[in-house]
């Protein structure tokens, strides 16, 4: 019977799991190799795919949020479906050393995310008359995004333990890793600075998925 996997936590992590998850399915758990893993069973993968997509994704998110409010966790990407409990246990046993170490390292940490929008015209070359102008526009945009990201990083202050940023077609995404008790201060600092950076949006706290460093073997 296929399982939809929600997340991994430390085996000793306390906290109640939600009764129902995606599609109203019972949220179950298995504890093995130092990890606590939460999942729901489905009669078939097709059963899961019949649930409206947004509804499924939001229910998945609600399970994570309920747990993340109580303890640190590493989420699975939605929808991660394994064949049966045996397959899930094999994964946990094989990957336990890496994930237990990361869960301990990130136990009290959260991830905040900032999106800095790019200039659409510069990004697509709408106003560029020549290839050279287009490339110069792209270069200018990349510099502006990096400068804005640097301002935000500095505004985040010393509570930011790690910072990552990634440029995409839509602008720049920045990820800040900070302790749970640093969230309010971080939000305040970013919101003040964002008044001078139109369109910047901040979200979080999220589980620190961007900072998990385990390679699947």
């Amino acid at each position: 019977m296929p399982l939809l996997a929600y997340c991994m936590m430390e085996e000793a992590a306390t906290g109640e799991r939600p009764v129902a998850g995606v599609g109203g399915a019972t949220v179950e758990e298995v504890r093995d190799s130092g990890l606590r893993c939460l999942f729901s069973r489905f009669q078939s993968a097709e059963d899961l795919s019949r649930i409206p997509a947004v509804e499924s994704a939001l229910a998945f998110h609600q399970v994570l949020q309920a747990l993340f409010g109580q303890a640190g966790l590493i989420p699975f990407r939605f929808p991660t479906v394994v064949e049966d409990e045996g397959a899930l246990l094999r994964f946990l046993r094989e990957q336990a050393p890496g994930y237990t170490a990361e869960l301990a390292r990130l136990r009290h940490m959260v991830q905040m995310e900032i999106h800095i929008p790019g200039n659409r015209e510069a990004g697509t070359g709408t106003l560029a008359a020549t290839g050279r102008e287009y490339l110069e526009g792209r270069q200018r945009q990349a510099s502006e995004l990096k400068a804005a990201a640097e301002k935000l990083r500095q505004a985040g202050g010393p509570s930011v333990a790690e910072w990552r940023q990634r440029q995409s077609g839509q602008g720049m995404r920045c990820y800040a890793l900070l302790p749970r008790d640093g969230v309010a201060g971080f939000q305040q600092a970013i919101q003040v600075l964002s008044r001078s950076l139109p369109g910047v949006r901040l979200s979080g706290p999220w589980p620190p998925a961007e900072f998990v460093e385990v390679k699947n073997s």
């Binding site: 296929p2 996997a5 997340c7 991994m8 993968a45 097709e46 899961l48 795919s49 409206p52 997509a53 947004v54 499924s56 994704a57 939001l58 998945f60 998110h61 994570l64 949020q65 993340f68 409010g69 109580q70 590493i74 989420p75 699975f76 990407r77 939605f78 929808p79 991660t80 479906v81 394994v82 064949e83 397959a87 899930l88 994964f91 994930y99 959260v110 995310e113 749970r180 969230v183 939000q187 970013i190 919101q191 964002s194 369109g199 910047v200 949006r201 901040l202 979200s203 979080g204 706290p205 999220w206 589980p207 998925a209 961007e210 998990v212 385990v214 699947n216």
Partner: protein, 77 residues
């Protein structure tokens, strides 16, 4: 315990951002188990090659989901 209403602190355009951010996170962030079963969502196949799940269609799925959510939008029923 962290207050649930702390989850989203959008600086601009709150509600729509919230849904998109949530979908973006659940579809793009997190661990993938090699050998996962492939499924489809809203008719969008999440393609896999061999035993490795490759969520190449995530951006398309996200756009599709967004359309479905828009009032009077062009999303599929």
């Amino acid at each position: 315990m962290m207050a649930e209403n702390n989850l989203l602190a959008g600086v601009a355009g709150q509600d729509e951002i919230s849904l998109l951010d949530i979908l973006d996170h659940v579809l793009n962030a997190g661990v993938v188990i090699h050998g996962s079963v492939v499924i489809s969502l809203a008719g969008v196949d999440l393609i896999y090659l061999g035993l490795n799940v490759v969520l190449t269609s995530v951006e398309t799925a996200l756009r599709h989901m967004h359309l479905e959510e828009m009032p009077g939008g062009a999303g599929r029923k």
